[in-house]
Assembly symmetry: C2
Homo-oligomer: 208 residues x 2
Amino acid sequence: MADRKGKQLTDYPRPSVAVDTAVLTVAHGQLCVGLLTDGRSPKRRLPGTFLHEGETLADAVRRSLREKAGIEGVEPVQLHVFDAPGRDTRGWVITVANLATVRADAVGSLPLIPVGDAAGLDFDHDDIVKLAAMRLRADYSEHPDPAGLLTQPFKIGQLRELHAAVAGELSQPDTFRRRMLPRLSAVGIERRGSVGKPAALFRRITID
Amino acid sequence: MADRKGKQLTDYPRPSVAVDTAVLTVAHGQLCVGLLTDGRSPKRRLPGTFLHEGETLADAVRRSLREKAGIEGVEPVQLHVFDAPGRDTRGWVITVANLATVRADAVGSLPLIPVGDAAGLDFDHDDIVKLAAMRLRADYSEHPDPAGLLTQPFKIGQLRELHAAVAGELSQPDTFRRRMLPRLSAVGIERRGSVGKPAALFRRITID
DNA sequence: AGAATAGTGTCTGTGAGACAGTATGGT
DNA sequence: ACCATACTGTCTCACAGACACTATTCT
């Protein structure tokens, strides 16, 4: 038998474990992803790094985003492990795909590309971007701004425009309002600013 | 910089990468999980193995189930990577949790425990079982027998009992029928067997 | 007054859930 | 005749989607 204690931990070859992160944000009314161009390949790629000893995957994601893009304080979400044997020509590398959703003013130095235009990336990063966008859209279709992209409190119109950017289509204002209201808590009225009836201000309901 | 080509692939310490699999099935009207007791720990655990070079995670899952329980032909579903630094006292090991759903007559030598009773397992295997059960229940709440546990064709009553076992509660026959019918295709009538009106036979609709 | 934005009343359709009924077989 | 199982008619409730209407502010 090959599973005596200790044997596998020392004798077997081990893969390099990487993390790659789709940094998603909403800019110019569109869902965008942050892409790097580094020297290793002419193709664009997602920011990533190899996992260090004593480090969690989430910490590795935070380190890679801090070092490569100056992004701080993200809470990554694990998506999927990509493990195709030939996916990295440099050797045996598996990667844990992650999603980090950040505000557009916090993407640091990372160039943003609309997710629809993010094709032809290095490795399997096209698939990671698709997965990340699907996940974010699924989350936003059920909850008001689950990633906390809006500054609280916010107006329903702002929330609707954000959701439109994420989903790629604008919903009816009345339907959207009624679907979101049960998950919002009113905290006052817009003081004043532009034309029109002052809007009510809301926060997300934390307890669900 | 520490990301010159080749450097990380050779210089950094690498984790052992394991797969651990919650083998779920329905037996005695209950959702059950297959648990091992091996010599390494007094606690029960999920079947697992270390990832070998040139092998995908799904192949490692299939190998571990074949070798440790005689289970063949499963299609594992990736759930989550568990990476807590101290999760394995033998060293630096991260594990990819998987779900494999099999028929009760195909669990081989694996002892079955109702998922509700599967607590106090080794490592973080309690969490893996919970995750796997949540995932399977979510799948079954939306589709008729997505894991293919029933022999086709089947009667709606059989499908309802299977779903009751997975969900842990029996739904109303008429509501269940109407919810599932749009996703089923009628293929005939029960020839005869027990008392009562002969039931219609169905297959799952593949195109969705 | 008119434009612009916020919000409501109400109709329609759909689908879950529940109750009671009908249909078809065995004993 | 009676029971057991399969299936259907129909009512209620809730909610999404759409249209038209009212409300409140600025210019």
